[in-house]
């Protein structure tokens, strides 16, 4: 059953790769959210890494919860509608069929992927601040720069991966993603200057 589910999620007939789409989309969300927090904290000179960690982890947990619940409800309702349409065509109740069972299992896998991809990517950007609290990165500024660098690298990886999917230039796609990150950071920095 797991093999079939995996096959379905990775190579759907329509050509869509559900797992791939959710991981990239939410990974992007996670990275940019933490980048926003990091730049915001950096520009306001937050000098306690625990404060940054708390903000980042809180946001990551929020992304996890909203990712899982949002995707589960959306996917279940979408699949249920599709199932009802199919049932009308089949003129049977289709009770206990694989199609009926798949509604729950597929929605659950997709929602977990959705939630955990944004959570994991968000947490990766927080690692330097954890290292800072442990004394491995003694200077907080270095933790800030490292976090921003990690975000940039993650965006480049996600962009490169999208480039590979599209069979286009990997560096070009990676650069495009990094530029989105730079734009987000610049916007955040500018807003902070304007607000404060």
């Amino acid at each position: 059953m797991f093999e079939k589910l995996k096959e379905k999620l990775l190579f759907e007939k329509s050509g869509e790769n559900i797992a791939q789409r959710y991981i990239v989309l939410n990974g992007f969300d996670g990275v940019l959210t933490v980048l926003g927090i990091t730049v915001g904290s950096f520009s306001t000179q937050v000098d306690n890494p625990a404060v940054v960690i708390s903000a980042c982890v809180g946001t990551a947990v929020g992304l996890l919860a909203s990712g899982i619940s949002g995707a589960y409800i959306t996917e279940t309702s979408q699949r249920l509608r599709g199932f009802k349409e199919l049932r009308a065509k089949m003129l049977t109740d289709m009770e206990g069929s694989v199609q009926e069972k798949n509604i729950q299992s597929e929605s659950l896998v997709i929602s977990l992927l959705n939630g955990f991809s944004s959570f994991m990517f968000a947490m990766l950007g927080t690692v330097p601040f954890f290292l800072s609290t442990l004394g491995i990165i003694p200077m907080l500024n270095v933790a800030y720069y490292s976090s921003m660098l990690i975000s940039g690298i993650l965006l480049a990886i996600l962009g490169g991966y999208l480039g590979r999917i599209a069979k286009e230039s990997i560096p070009f796609y990676a650069l495009k993603m990094v530029l989105v990150g730079v734009g987000t950071a610049a916007l955040m920095y500018g807003l902070q200057l304007f607000i404060l």
């Binding site: 007939k13 349409e85 199919l86 065509k89 089949m90 003129l91 049977t92 289709m94 206990g96 069929s97 694989v98 199609q99 009926e100």
Partner: protein, 95 residues
Amino acid sequence: MTEIKKLILDVLKPHDPEIIEFTKEMCALKSVSSLESSVEEVDKEVETVQIILYGEDIVYDEVKKKVKELGASIHSVDGVVAEGDRKVEINDQSR
């Protein structure tokens, strides 16, 4: 005891599972030794498939249950080949 050796069914099934997967699943039934399937008609979301099952003693209830589990439904039983215990001696006197 009469044993069903061949069964021809007209089945309406969704596009998913595809015909290959559907055939494999049906063929995995204990009482089925081999199976032939062909798509007769394709609609937007469903398709009509003719399946011919071969076996030593095909259990129709088992077949029906599996078809339902795969989200399909049997439209009609178009042909059956059964074999009983009695041996029939054919005296061909026309020779």
